[in-house]
């Protein structure tokens, strides 16, 4: 079956010739009309629309946005903060970059609507430090919006005031974790907080109720308020509504971003039809479907079970290519949709070396606060680096798995899972390659594969 056509909602204007990031261009294309309509409605109505839409967070965990807003403590008497998580750092993910650089007003409009809906008076956009131009573009866009009465005091002549400031990170993946981000925004080391008691919805920024939403999520809010939650819910599949921006990288002919109605495209369609399939003379070997922490899939493996379609349970028997790219299907086969970053590896890749690359990333990014992640991530890195550059031992495969098994579920934040899932899944799917590495290593080095560590 050929791939469906893209549904460009969020990326409607990305890379459109002549489309510029200034407010004039945005307004010419109908910008800020939704905000104008929104401030005439009751905030509760807007929250209700978002709940009805079934929108799930696009940052990685896929938590329903309406539920997140519903958890906010509105009785504390304390101010409510909204933080835009623009710390896009999950390897393989690069969607927010384009929104921020090319269509910043879309984000600002979505943010202002969300702030109005939640009675937020102060919002911060926490943008990763590696986007210096992005930060400037956003600052300029906010200034333009402020000049047009769309941000700041008494927006659009109403009694409602809300300020947005841009806050730059400085190179720490852990700031993508919402409580780590909050600590960082408070001017500290980005140590994630223990939950309980520090749920952002109750005790977030400055111990006040706080909403942390991903860039893409907030852009969807604008669309939801424009067209209604029900209309949004009709895009995609039940439980996986709206569109999803997929970021494809690695060994395909046409890597890049692609926006589809969620759940309407399979992994095979995305990689083969949309991205042009493997590079000449190569075969696809493995794919990580939701950012580098997602569990890896091996081409050739099959997934069987029962799944709910409408009210019925039906059998499924999928190869990797057959898996629909939605949160639930990917969860069912033991991985996740995560941040939408799809990393493709072909048969030139040695999996020990690929894992060594990933382990180097996670050990570098572990904040170091809690024991299992701090020590486990570096240990796994030391093992895999040694296997590639020093002495590889047959028993390293079992050791790696055992070390990885001691981390997830025991840490303060989800980084424990993020750093151990690659090792667990690489070993589960490519265990033989690890066991045989002591013999195959030198042979592997002779081919023209890229160095990975």
């Amino acid at each position: 079956m050929p791939a469906p056509a893209q549904t460009r909602i969020i990326f409607q204007h990305i890379d459109e010739p002549g489309y510029t990031p200034d407010i004039a261009c945005y307004v010419r294309n109908g910008g800020y009309e939704v905000l104008k309509q929104a401030v005439k409605r009751k905030p509760e109505e807007l929250i209700e629309e978002v709940k009805k839409s079934g929108l799930r967070g696009r940052g990685g965990a896929g938590f329903p946005c309406g539920v997140k807003w519903g958890l906010v403590d509105r009785k504390s008497g304390k101010p409510i903060y909204l933080i835009v998580n623009a710390d896009e750092s999950e390897p393989g993910t690069f969607k927010d970059r384009y929104i921020i650089h090319q269509d910043p007003h879309q984000l600002i409009e979505g943010t202002m609507i969300s702030c109005f809906a939640n009675n937020v008076k102060q919002a911060y956009i926490y943008i990763r430090g590696e986007f210096p131009h992005g930060a400037r573009i956003l600052e300029r866009a906010i200034a333009e919006a402020r000049g047009a009465g769309l941000v700041g005091p008494n927006i659009l002549g109403t009694n409602y005031s809300c300020e947005i400031y841009v806050h730059r990170g400085a190179g720490a993946y852990i700031c993508g974790e919402e409580t780590g981000l909050i600590e960082s925004l408070e001017g500290k080391r980005a140590y994630p907080r223990i939950k309980p008691p520090y749920f952002p919805a109750v005790l977030g920024l400055y111990q006040c109720p706080t909403i942390v939403n991903n860039v893409e999520t907030l852009c969807h809010v604008k669309y939801i308020v424009q067209h209604g939650g029900e209309a949004f819910g009709r895009i995609g599949t039940p439980g996986n509504t709206g569109t999803r921006v997929f970021c494809v990288s690695g060994h395909v002919q046409r890597p890049g971003y692609y926006e589809f109605a969620t759940g309407t495209i399979t992994l095979g369609q995305l990689l083969n039809d949309v991205c042009g399939g493997p590079l000449p003379g190569r075969k696809l070997k493995a794919v990580i479907p939701g950012g580098s922490s997602a569990k890896i899939l091996k081409f050739g493996e099959r997934f069987k079970g029962k799944r709910k379609v409408g009210a019925e349970m039906v059998d499924y028997d999928w190869g990797v290519e057959d898996v629909p790219m939605d949160f639930d299907s990917l969860g069912m086969i033991g991985t996740m949709g995560g941040s939408g970053g799809v990393i493709v590896m072909d048969d030139s890749v040695n999996m020990v070396e690929a894992l060594a690359n990933i382990n180097a990333f996670y050990s570098h990014e572990s904040c170091g606060q809690c024991t299992p992640c701090r020590e486990g991530s570096l240990w796994m890195k030391k093992i895999t680096t040694r296997m590639v550059h020093g002495t590889a031992r047959t028993e390293d495969a079992a050791l790696l798995k055992s070390v990885a098994d001691q981390i997830p579920g025991r840490t303060i934040c989800a980084f424990g899972e993020a750093c151990s899932w690659p090792t667990q899944s690489f070993l589960a799917k490519f265990g033989d390659e690890f066991k045989q590495y002591p013999e195959t290593r030198n042979a592997a080095k002779r081919n023209d594969a890229a160095a990975l560590i």
Binding site: R189, S363, E365, C370, T371, L378, K382, I383, Q406, R410
Partner: protein
């Protein structure tokens, strides 16, 4: 005695045992109450909770209820309400009890979690236990016995970090041993209010450090050594001196102010090696000052008095008591008691003075409080002097009134219980006009001028009790014997009192019978049954007195005048 309000109790089930604990108790403390040990490193009952070591992971569940009807869901097999166990382990330190909470600490999930954390903590930890001065009180070593593998699977290079850093004048840091629990950082920030410690760098390379150019030199720096669960922070004074398992522990009280921090004196064969805090949640929590830890050094000071002297010649106790009694019987005696004496000594001082109808003076020592564990009143036991009736009003800093009485010829003999009369304001001329009987520990102008001199014991060499600023009666015990030539204060005072006609016992048990009989506020007590944590006395009779103390930990001044 003030009764605490009955706290709200919550019933929880820990490893099958039901227990009612106060609301707000965390799982570690609740488990402790049923003798279930939940191991931990970063948790400390007096510091904020960060949950970073992950050693206290336990399994947790709540009784199952039907989501629709809220009715309990019963387990047909047991006939009891079903428990919904959370599939991943939770931290005991950060989890407060809630009604019906179920906790399991012995399941495979918990055991594996603890073993995993232990292995992770050990892979980058040096294997220098044989030369490490935390040995014997190292939590890592202790828990490695319970949860360690017994062999290492780690064949990589260990991380290299700074060794033997002098963090300050009293604390040495070995960063390779540090397990990054952050207790010392939290202590410095939250308790000592001296934010100089922190972690630099990231991940497994995170390193504890003092800000370059600054030092960990506040007067509570050694508390970081106490709470360091491993050998990362050690006391520069104590390290390499003595293995802790050879040391005898004796409960004592810090005498540097009226706070009366509870302490433990660590000694071996008559030699004191260190003093550490003893937890008392009503007084000092788990802390004490660095300065109080050094007080034991006075025991071995060169200026220690070692010989009884009468009229400048070496003598014996009988002759000294006789000589003193003779002077006293001549009349015109004044007694200078001490706010550093114990309650028992003050009682004997009172009996002695009363028999002579001699006026009693005390010397006050007022400095600045540090708002933590050193109060403005640097005498540990002025309130004891009030309770025993030795004095009725608060003392002055200078003995001006006594000086005037000497100048007027009304006082011919002064008996001083450890107070240096010169330091307290008597002039050399005044001192030369009187005969001095001096009981004391260290040489000073008064001991030099004394006609009768009896060396006595330092606080670590005797037993007794003090009444602190809260009117808490707290006892201390003899840790080491006194030097040759020194006599126990109670013995000297009892002999003196008896010699002037007031027969009182010197032995603590006997003495307390007399004290209890004569002082209604202490009426039901014996020395033996006084709890180690102390006993709060009724302070209302003294409410009008303008005490010097301002606010310190667990103490708020009652009278606004003092604040």
């Amino acid at each position: 005695m003030i009764a605490s309000p009955k706290p709200d109790l919550v019933t929880v089930n820990i490893d099958g045992k039901e227990i009612a604990v106060p609301k707000g108790t965390n799982v570690i403390e609740a488990a402790r109450l049923v003798n279930v040990d939940v191991p931990y490193y970063c948790y400390h009952p007096k510091l904020t909770i960060v949950g970073n070591c992950r050693m206290c992971l336990i399994e947790m569940g709540m009784p199952a209820v039907d989501p629709a009807t809220k009715a309990p869901v019963m387990d047909p097999a047991t006939g009891k309400q079903k428990v919904n166990w959370i599939p991943r382990p939770q931290i005991g330190c950060g989890t407060n009890v809630s009604p019906g909470l179920h906790v399991r600490t012995t399941t495979p999930m918990v055991r594996e979690a603890r073993e995993g954390v232990m292995e992770f903590l050990l892979i980058n930890h040096p294997l220098d236990c044989p030369i490490c001065y935390q040995a014997g009180e190292c939590k890592l070593q202790e828990q490695a016995t319970g949860y360690g593998r017994g062999y290492s699977r780690f064949v990589e290079e260990k991380n290299v970090k700074p060794k033997r850093t002098q963090l300050g004048p009293r604390v040495t840091l070995d960063d390779e041993r540090c397990i990054l629990c952050s207790r010392c950082i939290r202590f410095s920030k939250e308790i000592a209010k001296d934010d100089v410690l922190g972690f630099i760098d990231r991940g497994s390379y995170s390193t504890l450090t003092c800000y370059p150019g600054k030092q960990l030199e506040n007067n509570y720096s050694l508390c970081t050594v106490d709470i360091c669960p491993v050998g990362a922070l050690t006391s520069t004074d104590f390290r390499f001196k003595m293995r802790v398992w050879f040391l005898k522990q004796t409960n004592s009280i810090d005498t540097e102010s009226s706070v009366g921090a509870n302490t433990v004196v660590w000694s071996r064969e008559g030699v004191i090696y260190r003093i550490t805090p003893r937890r008392n949640d009503a007084v000092n929590d788990t802390w004490m000052s660095d300065s109080a830890r050094l007080l034991y050094k006075q025991v071995k000071a060169d200026s220690r008095l070692q010989a009884i002297r009468v009229n400048g010649a070496d003598s014996g106790l009988d002759m000294a008591v006789n000589a003193a009694a003779t002077l006293c019987r001549a009349g015109s005696v004044a007694v200078v008691g001490s706010g550093r004496s114990s309650v028992e000594e003050q009682f004997l001082t009172k009996k002695f003075a009363a028999a002579l109808q001699a006026p009693v003076f005390l010397v006050s020592r007022v400095g600045e409080g540090d708002r933590l564990l050193i109060s403005a009143d640097r005498n540990p036991n002025v309130r004891g002097a009030l309770v025993t009736g030795l004095i009725r009003s608060l003392p002055a800093a200078r003995l001006t009134e006594l000086g005037a009485a000497i100048d007027a010829g009304r006082v011919k003999t002064v008996v001083s219980i450890g107070e240096d009369l010169v330091a307290a304001g008597l002039s050399a001329a005044q001192l030369s006009k009187v005969a001095v009987v001096y009981l004391g520990t260290h040489a000073n102008p008064t001991s030099a001028a004394a006609k009768v001199l009896v060396p006595t014991l330092a606080v670590f060499e005797r037993s007794g009790s003090f009444v602190n600023q809260q009117f808490r009666l707290q006892k201390f015990h003899q840790a080491v014997p006194g030097p040759p030539g020194a006599t126990e204060d109670l013995v000297v005072l009892s002999r003196l009192a008896t010699a002037v006609g007031a027969a009182v016992p010197a032995e603590l048990g006997q003495l307390w019978k007399t004290i209890a009989a004569e002082i209604p506020a202490l009426g039901t007590m014996t020395f033996a049954n006084l709890p180690e944590a102390g006993l709060l006395l009724d302070a209302t009779p003294y409410a009008a007195l303008p005490f010097a103390e301002g606010e310190t930990l667990h103490y708020k001044p009652a009278s606004p005048a003092a604040a």
